[in-house]
Amino acid sequence: MNEALVGGIVVFVLATYLGASLIGRVPSTLHTPLMSGANAVSGITIVGAMLVAGAGFGWLSSVLGFVAIVFAMMNVVGGYLVTDRMLEMFRKSPRAAAADVAKAAAGDDK
């Protein structure tokens, strides 16, 4: 195994644990936006698509790369916009916000 691979594995493992610990107790209303927001992040493959399309590897790579960019960009742009639209619907009402503050004040250290 070469250096870079091991480095990649280390980073992969750490990020995996990090991802798992990011999602704690999410209210169920946010499940769909969270799913869709995470989906947009998985569009990061756009980076790979750009590198394939732009590296001048010949026509085959360019074509595949082009389609990959279109796909990934749909995922990215669509994903973030859809999430934003959903969240716009879930604006917090003043009442709920006040309740939260009260809860926090009542001691959120358990």
């Binding site: 980073v11 991802g19 209303t29 799913m35 995470a38 082009f66 669509g78 916000a97």
Partner: protein, 463 residues
């Protein structure tokens, strides 16, 4: 055009923005900001990549970005709120498709040059191809099921499990060949892709339409892993980190979603196989229901002080959100108070009822979470159940043999009186009888929710 180390640091910054964004997405106050922070990270990653030294031609890239963004933006702007889950599924599918294409392009390019790739790169490549392909076709099937282009019922056929096992074995075999024999003929690769695409279809077909949100969350996790594998292939850290983040958070999210429905992930994925069709333990024989008329129900609602409305999947089917709001406004104008009780898994996707009622401009502070309102049912004069069934089924509390036993439910049965609007006596998603309907305090108002609600409104107006 920027030095290598700077590129890596900037990619790291992008990854940190994803991390911050995802964390903030998990809490209502910060969710929207979190999404934007995450989008900023993506923008940074794209800009940094544009500056990468390996990139020599920009034409294709710019064209692809413009086309893809336009399609994505159009889809996001025009989709109906209630079609969100299938939309997310579709977007997720194309994301997986992108990973599939990138990994394939890398593979074909190194074939072309005749360079022998090391086993670990070959391994990541084939894994990226496999997972990307499964994500692509799996998501398309999920989309089709939710869009009702194909039946929402689990699709099974005899020998399906044997077929799937063989399919999987073939994929593993071909993948191994590709990894360990750098001179494997090219057709092997294409057959490998074909079988992987088929696998995605086969995995999702036997899952019921109502479980698709969970499937999409899971496929989302897959597409993250596919991106991470692509990252190993092209040795790019930001792909590895972000892919792994999505990969693990997606799995956790799908587990949380299952738990809210009181089911296990494996039950969702493989439940259709070998399931002895659950006999509902309580059968309805010998029990009768009280029915009521529009006129009668209208009078009760018109003079009620406290009304709690329990919306369910039937409200979405009937698309009666505007009518329900009209009725509520009317009751309030006559001096009563109306609250909506939102069960976490009412409908067919998390937040379904919130989205639906928000569409009809129901004020957000009239929507109450289960835990906040459950104590108030006892003081309610009428609980108006509109197309909900499982989420108000008392068997979840009382009958250990019921498939929904243990799921927290809304206490509609504790109200002074319950009016249940549905078309007939059919069961809900869980396919079981509901004792509430036979309760002496319950009155059934049969008919399509939209129709009944409109009639109630005009009836009350005349009082």
């Amino acid at each position: 055009m920027i030095p290598d180390y700077l590129e890596r640091i900037l990619y790291l910054v992008a990854a940190v923005l994803f991390i911050t964004g995802l964390r903030q997405l998990g809490s209502p106050d910060t969710a929207r900001r979190g999404n934007r922070i995450s989008a900023l990270g993506m923008l940074l990653a794209i800009v940094v990549t544009l500056l990468d030294q390996a990139i020599v031609s920009y034409g294709t890239i710019i064209a692809g970005i413009v086309v893809g963004s336009a399609i994505g933006a159009f889809m996001a702007r025009t989709v109906k709120m209630t079609s969100m889950p299938q939309m997310v599924g579709l977007l997720n599918g194309v994301g997986g498709g992108a990973s599939l294409l990138v990994a394939s392009a890398e593979f074909l390019h190194s074939e072309e040059r005749g360079v022998a790739v090391t086993a670990d790169v070959a391994f990541s490549t084939q894994l990226g191809v496999l997972i990307g392909a499964v994500t692509l076709t799996g998501s398309i099937i999920a989309f089709a099921k939710l869009q009702e282009m194909i039946t929402g019922r689990p699709i099974t056929f005899s020998g399906q499990q044997v077929f799937n096992a063989l399919l999987f074995a073939a994929i593993v075999g071909l993948g191994g060949w590709l990894i360990f024999d750098p001179n494997a003929p090219e057709w092997v690769f294409f057959v490998f892709i074909g079988l992987a695409l088929l696998l995605g279809v086969m995995l999702v077909l036997p899952i019921g339409g109502a479980d698709m949100p969970v499937v999409i969350a899971l496929l989302n996790s897959y597409s993250g892993i596919a991106a991470a594998m692509t990252g190993f292939v092209i040795q790019n850290e930001v792909l590895i980190i972000s892919g792994a983040l999505v990969g693990s958070s997606g799995i956790i999210l799908s587990q949380i979603m299952c738990r809210a429905m009181n089911r296990s992930l494996s039950n969702v994925l493989f439940g259709a196989f070998g399931s002895v069709v659950q006999q509902s333990s309580k059968s309805a024989s010998g029990l009768t229901v009280n029915t009521t008329s529009i006129e009668d129900a209208a009078i009760q609602l018109a003079y009620a002080q406290n009304v709690i409305i329990v919306p369910g999947y039937g409200l979405a089917v009937a698309q009666a959100q505007h009518q329900v709001r009209e009725l509520a406004d009317l009751i309030e104008k006559r001096g009563g108070t109306v609250k909506y009780a939102i069960h976490p898994v009412a409908g067919r996707m998390p937040g379904h009822m919130n989205v639906l009622l928000a569409e009809a401009n129901v004020p957000y502070d009239k929507l109450f979470d289960m835990d906040d309102i459950n104590d108030q049912f006892e003081r309610a004069d009428v609980a108006l159940v509109v197309g909900a069934n499982d989420v108000v089924n008392p068997a979840a509390r009382t009958d250990p043999s019921s498939p929904i036993f243990g799921m927290p439910i809304l206490n509609a049965d504790k109200a002074q009186r319950a009016i249940v609007m549905k078309r007939g006596m059919s069961a809900g998603f869980a396919g079981i009888e509901n004792e509430l309907f036979y309760d002496s305090k319950t009155q059934m108002l049969f008919g399509d929710a939209k129709g009944s609600l409109s009639k109630l409104v005009s009836e009350i107006k005349q009082l």
